[in-house]
Every structure is written in C-alpha cells, then in structure tokens.
Amino acid sequence: MYIKTSKWSWLAVTPMMIFLLGIFVWPVFSFLMLSFGDSLSAPSFVHYQKIITTPIYRQIIFNTFNIALLVTIFSVIFSYPIVYLLANVSKRMRKFLFILVLLPFWTSALVRTTAWIVILQRKGILNEMLLFTGIFNEPISFIYNFSGVLIGMTHVLMPFVIFPLYAAYKNIDYSLIEAAESLGSKSYQTVKRLIIPLTMPGVIAGSIIVFMSAIGYYITPALMGGPKQTMIAMLIENNINRTLNWELAAALSSVLLFSTLILFIIFQKYFGFDNLLSSNSQKGSSQFYKRKEKFSPSKITMYFLGGLVCVFLIAPIVIVFPMSLSASPFLEFPPQEYSLRWYESFFSDNRWLRGLWNSLIAAAVTIAISLPIGTLAAVGVNEMKRKTRLWLETLFILPMVIPVIIFAISLFYFIAPLRLNNSVVTLGIAHSVLAMPFVFLTVSASLKNFNKNLELAAYSLGASWKTMFWRIMLPSITPGIIAGAIFAFIQSFDDVILALFLTNIKSRTLPRIMFEGVAHEIDPTIVAISGLLITLTVLLFAINALFASERENDPNI
C-alpha cells in the first residue's frame, strides 16, 4: 500500500511544483539575472558596485534594516503584556482577544493605512484629542515620518511575535514558577530568571519572521512614511517606474532577496515555518494550575498595558465605522451628522463598481487555481518521507517569504513582452502564487490532525485509496480546505502590489483604486469601502470559526 501511495504522492505534488517553478521561481530568477548585465558568460557587477558606492543607496539599505529592527523590538516589547493578558483571562475572553490580535493582520493593508492616516494626521482624531486636553498647543506630526512607519508596521507585524510567544509562555510548567517562589524568588526575579529565558525561543522565532517581512515592506512605508523613510522595496519600484533602470532594480532585489532568504533558512533550520501558523500543534497543552492570584500592583500594570496594546491593535479598525457614516465631505470625528452617502457614493460610482467586479473575478480565479492544486500538494506531501517533505515544504512556502514587490516586478518583466499583462485573469493567476502556500499550510495542518489509524482502518475494511480519500480523509480535512479558500480569497482581494504592476485603468482592482486615492487625498468613499472590507473580513472569520469549531481545535490560525 505504501509503495503505491508514494508514487501517487509525487503525482499529487507535481502541479504545485510546476506552477510555482514556472510562474514564480523562473520569472524571479530571470529578473534577478538582469543584475549581472546582458551576457551571462561575462557577468558584470557594476550594479552591485554602484549600490555599495552610492551613499544614498547605502543610506536606504541602512534605513530599511534600521526600521525593521525597531519594528521587531517594538513588536516584542508590546507582545509581552498582551500575552500575559491572553494567558490569564477566561477561555471565552481569550478567544475574543485572539480575534483582536488577528483582525489587523487579515485586514487589507490599505484599510489599515487609511484608518491610521485618519487617526494620526495633523487634523486627525488623536491630534484633536490631544489639543482638546490642552496638553499640546500644536498638532503633532505622527505620520509621513519615522513614527508613522513604525506605528503602521508594528501594528500589522505584531501577531507574528504574539503567537509563538503565547505558545512558549503557555508551555511553561506552572510548577516551575511555584518552585522559584518557594525558593524565595520575588515576582520581578521570576520574570527575569524564568519567564524571559523560557520564552526566548518563541521571541526569537517571531522576531525573525517580523524582521524578514519588514525589510520587504512597500505599501506601509510608502503611504505612512516620509522621503527619509524610503525603504529598499520603494527604491526598487522607483527604479522600475521612474528611472527605468531595470538592472539596478534587479541588483537591489537580489540584495533584498538574499537577506530574506538567509533569515528564512535560519528560521527553517531552528523552528520550521509550518509550526508558526498552526501554533496549536505545540504539544503539552497548558499546565496552568488554576490558582486565583490576588490583584497585585504588577498584575494590574500588566493588565493595563495589555489593554493599551489591544486598543492599539483594534482602534484603527473600529474607528472606520463611525467615520464612514459621517455626512460631511471632510473626515471628522465624531461625525456631526450621520448618513450613508459615502456608501451610496461607492455603489453608484462605476469606477468603484468596476474595481469591485475586477477584484471578485481575480479572487475567483485565485480560489479556482490555488485550492485544488494546494490541497493536492498537501495530501501528497503528507505521505512523503521527512526529508523530502522538508524540501518540498520549503519550496511551497517560499512565495510567503519573498517580498511581493520582487515577484510583481519579475512577473511583469516576464509577461509584458507576451502582452499578457493588464488582464484580470493574469492577476488571478499571479495571486494564486501568493494564495497557494496558505491553502497548502491549512490543509497540511488538518492532515496532521487526521488520525492515520482511520486511514488504516478503512483499508482493513476493504476500501481502496480512492474510496478512503473521498469517504474518510476529505471529510475530515474539509475545515482546512475551507480555511484555505478563505485565506486565498483574502490574499487576492487585499493585494495592491501585484495589481499595481499587472493591471491597467480597465482591469485595475478595488485595492489599486484605493491606493491611488490614499496616496493623494482620502476621499470619504475610501473610508466607507474600508468599513465594507472590514465587515467582509469579520464575516469570513466567523465562517472559518464556524467550521473550525467542529473539530474542537483552537482556531488559532
């Protein structure tokens, strides 16, 4: 039986392999080769030399790493109080808080950025509040500078630290803390000597992911930073669209990609990417002894800080709704008068509706491609030996890791001569590259939970592999497939970067139109759309939770 399935398992992973190699690896590779000049036989390194010798490029690379480092540090610092809160509240409250943590992560980058701009701009909510209290006489510049970039990026990347940190914290055997106390340890000593060292692996795992993602960021720094916060991704884009220096863009992309890959390899070696998304796979569930602790000053402080972090995470998402209901043509909070005029404006404007339609088509194409191929690959990989599995998993996860801007430019470079760009279907195919790893991971996670003995029991009762798959395996991995479909949809529906390169005025998607709007001046219609998109995200979340609850697992993803 196993000999037979191993052959089938290679067949099952082939479509995903071919798809990724053809549409992802090969274009990226050929684009990067541009950096070595025209002839491959005599590679030139002038562009790399130029990067090293030009002060402004060095400065931008330094900036990028500096911003990424600070974002990582802030993510870690802010994660501790919220993890403490998560670990100490009731189960129901914890589920709610998990949703709070995840919502910004799954909300479109544009929606988040729009909301932050509304809150933080000079006439924004925060400045009005500060002026009202009289502490400050002049508005403070929170955005279009360094703090704007830090706020925007920490906000979205924090979950990557929160989850592994929570898993590590939850895994601390409570009797260790009691042992320390009985040996005379005060609470600050327990934190210093036990909690921090024992949660360090989780913190490091999360930090690598945050840093790795941060160095490739494009949208947030472009919309929330100033000229001094230019990051590598923006420089690459600039070289393609303004200076038209493809070779230099390729060289810069190589630098970025190389840094990303090194971090990814370190991470894969020590932690493993698939553990991060399914943090419930950590064995040894909480050993927490239910002991009612008295409210100590330190506990109250941690709760307060945890609460503040929650507000930080959720505020931009909540604020969108009242803002979108304002009757005023200017953004104001709280609105003087409520109306639905900006929602009407969205549904009556052909430009927006066409964008919505394009987005929906692209998402449909994405699901249609990534769901079967990703699921098949997960089933195939699940049957393989550990070593082969690790290699394939690394390949299949790669699109999540590599900065989207590099992929977008590469694909553009690859298909523009074929005149395949400017089509929504092409965009959907490109989105499938981003979405497929999510399908692969969610289905893999549910396959891990699938009891192998059920499969053997089916065989022993005379079922063929085919019967077993349709009647036993597929029903039990359905929640994973549904989660994969939802993530695929979100990946496609939220994308801006690929749309910027692969669509034109006819085929542009909703996020791209929003991007163009936000970059200039925020029209209240964009806030209304943001409200709609958040509602959609919450709805998808609810659907996922509904299916996930059937298997009695923490919907941690």
């Binding site: 055997d173 009691e178 042992a179 009985s182 005379g184 024992l198 002991r291």
Partner: protein, 328 residues
C-alpha cells in the same frame, strides 16, 4: 546544617474549599521537629491541597499555620523558607544542575563563595557532584529527583515538603530512592511532610502517617498504631489487607490475612472452616483464597510453613488468636 531544620509545624482548624467543594475540612495537626510525617490518602482526599496550603501556593479560608509559634498565614511564599520537592521535579530546564541548586541561595543574595560551598555540599549529599554542569534533560529520572531534593534542602528550609516525589519513577528505582530519602532524613534530621498515595512507601519512610479522606483527617499515628488498631474499615483497608467476617454465631470479626494459622481439623473455638478456592504462590509467602459462608477470605502464610499436600477445593480450618483480632 542540621539546626535550622528543627522546627515544629502547628496547624489549627484549617479549611479550604474550591467552588463549594470542601478540599480541607477542619484540619488540625502538629508535626514535631525532625519528624517524618506522611500525608496518605487516595486522589481527591485533600493531601496535596494541604501541602500546597502549607507551602503557601493556596491560601486557607479559615484556620492558622504556625512554625515554631510564628504565624505563616500572611507570609508571602517567597519569605516562608519552606523547601518543596515537586511531583514532576519542576527543575528549571534552562539551568544546569549547579544553577538549579544555587537558585534559592542567589535569591537570598549570599556571597558567591558561600553559594559555591553550600551547593557543593548539597550535591555531595545527593551524590551528584559529577553531574553539576549537566542540564535537567540530560539526567535520568532518579538523578532529576535528586537535583530537586538538593535544590530544596540547600536553602536550609524550616520545613521540607515533598509532593509524591517518586510518582514518576519505575518500581525498582522507587525502592532505591526511598532508601536514599530515608538516609537523607536521618543525616540532616529534617522535619519532612511527605505526600503519597502509596501505603507501603508511607510505612517504609514515616515516623507518622496522617490518613486523609474527603478533606478530613481520618486517623493519625505511627505506622504500627494505624496498622494494628485502625479506627475504621477504611483505615483498615487502606493500610494492608483485611478480612471482615460475619461468623456463624452472628459475631463480626476483623482480621488481617497474616493472623491465621492453617490446620486440617478444628482445634479451638476460634476457627473457621473454609473451602480453598485458590492458592497463589508468591515466593516467600503463599496466598490462600477461600470461601466461608459465601464470604471470601484471604489468608497469607510463609510458603515454608504450608503443608505441601493441600490442594484447591480442600477444606481447611483457619485458626486465629483472639489477641490478633482488630477492634473497630
């Protein structure tokens, strides 16, 4: 090292409940200095709760705890100076053996040189000097157990608490560790409170056994007292086996299996005629299971004392001495 251990623990009218379930119900107990006191009981009897209240991990609803007349109730755990050996050892996984043992002394802010001396002393006591630089996951179960012991005693606690410390070990290792703990108790002359559900272990180690059931102390005394004059059927059953027999003349007797003698005919008033249902050879002794008036009787004999000719389904007389009967 010996002096600091000598302390008397006094517990008065302790009560503790969790969500309306009385975990401890009016517990009063005095443990003398240097005494090895076992809390024995089935799971859910409250023995672990009692230990956790003494350690300070739980606060009692009512009652008082004193060590040498000093009230513990409002004292934070960190200031109680009570050594604790946990069921799963609770060794700090990121610290070496030496660092684990030194932890409590570092909390007392002792000088480095004093810490070193005392850690070495403690490691020597548990015979782990060669393992000092290893980490917990590189040690066997028995070694981990000894690190936990060293870590608890190195701070010279006023009281040493042990929560089923041998529960995770296999049977042979348990026996070995029991001997070591007994030896240690003798050497450092500590006041020890030891939680276990294993009556054999409790009898082997303890000066005194406190038997708990449903949050109450059922009986407290030396092993001999509890064995030979149990207060009720539950105590009699918990420590050793016991026969509760209704005789033909209507009398009820309680008798340990080893208190019988076997004869093939009736020689005295104090005997019962049983049919042998099974003879189980267990090495040095043999267990006889018989039936008397539809009651099952268990009797044990030294294998060498038993007539080799008796067989299953034979009828024999089990004779007992009146003095051996247990008065309930």
């Amino acid at each position: 090292m010996t002096q600091t251990f000598k302390n008397t623990l006094t517990i008065k009218n302790l009560e503790k409940s969790f969500n309306d379930v009385m975990a401890l119900n009016d517990i009063s107990l005095e443990v003398q200095e240097g005494e090895f006191c076992s809390l024995l009981g089935a799971s859910g009897s409250g023995k672990t709760t009692l230990l956790r209240v003494i350690a300070g991990f739980e606060s009692p609803d009512k009652g008082s705890l004193e060590i040498n007349g000093r009230n513990l109730n409002s004292l934070p755990i960190a200031n109680r100076n009570i050594g604790m050996v946990f069921q799963n050892y609770a060794l700090f996984p990121h610290m070496s053996v030496r660092e684990n043992v030194a932890f409590g002394l570092e909390m007392q802010k002792l000088k480095k040189i004093d810490i070193n001396t005392r850690v070495n002393e403690a490691l020597k006591l548990v015979d782990l000097r060669n393992e000092a630089t290893r980490f917990p996951n590189q040690l066997s179960g028995g070694q981990q157990q000894r690190v936990a012991l060293a870590r608890a005693i190195v701070i010279k606690p006023s009281l040493l608490l042990m929560d089923e410390p041998l529960g995770a070990l296999d049977k042979n290792l348990r026996k070995e560790m029991q001997a070591q703990i007994k030896e240690l108790h003798k050497n450092i002359n500590a006041t020890i409170i030891y939680v276990t559900h294993d009556q054999e272990e409790a009898m082997y180690l303890s000066d005194r056994i406190v038997l708990l059931d449903q949050g109450k102390i059922i009986q407290s005394g030396t092993c001999k007292e509890l064995y030979s004059s149990p207060k009720n059927r539950m105590v009699a059953n918990f420590l050793g086996e016991c026969n509760f027999i209704k005789l033909e003349d209507g009398r009820n007797i309680t008798i340990r299996p080893e208190s019988f003698a076997v004869l093939d005919r009736k020689t005295s008033e104090n005997g019962i005629e049983v049919t042998i249902k099974d003879l189980v050879f267990l090495g040095s002794y043999t267990k006889l299971i018989g039936s008397y008036n539809q009651q099952e009787i268990t009797a044990t004999f030294r294998s060498s004392d038993l007539n080799p000719n008796i067989r299953k389904l034979d009828k024999v007389h089990l004779i007992f001495n009146k003095e051996c009967l247990i008065n309930l």
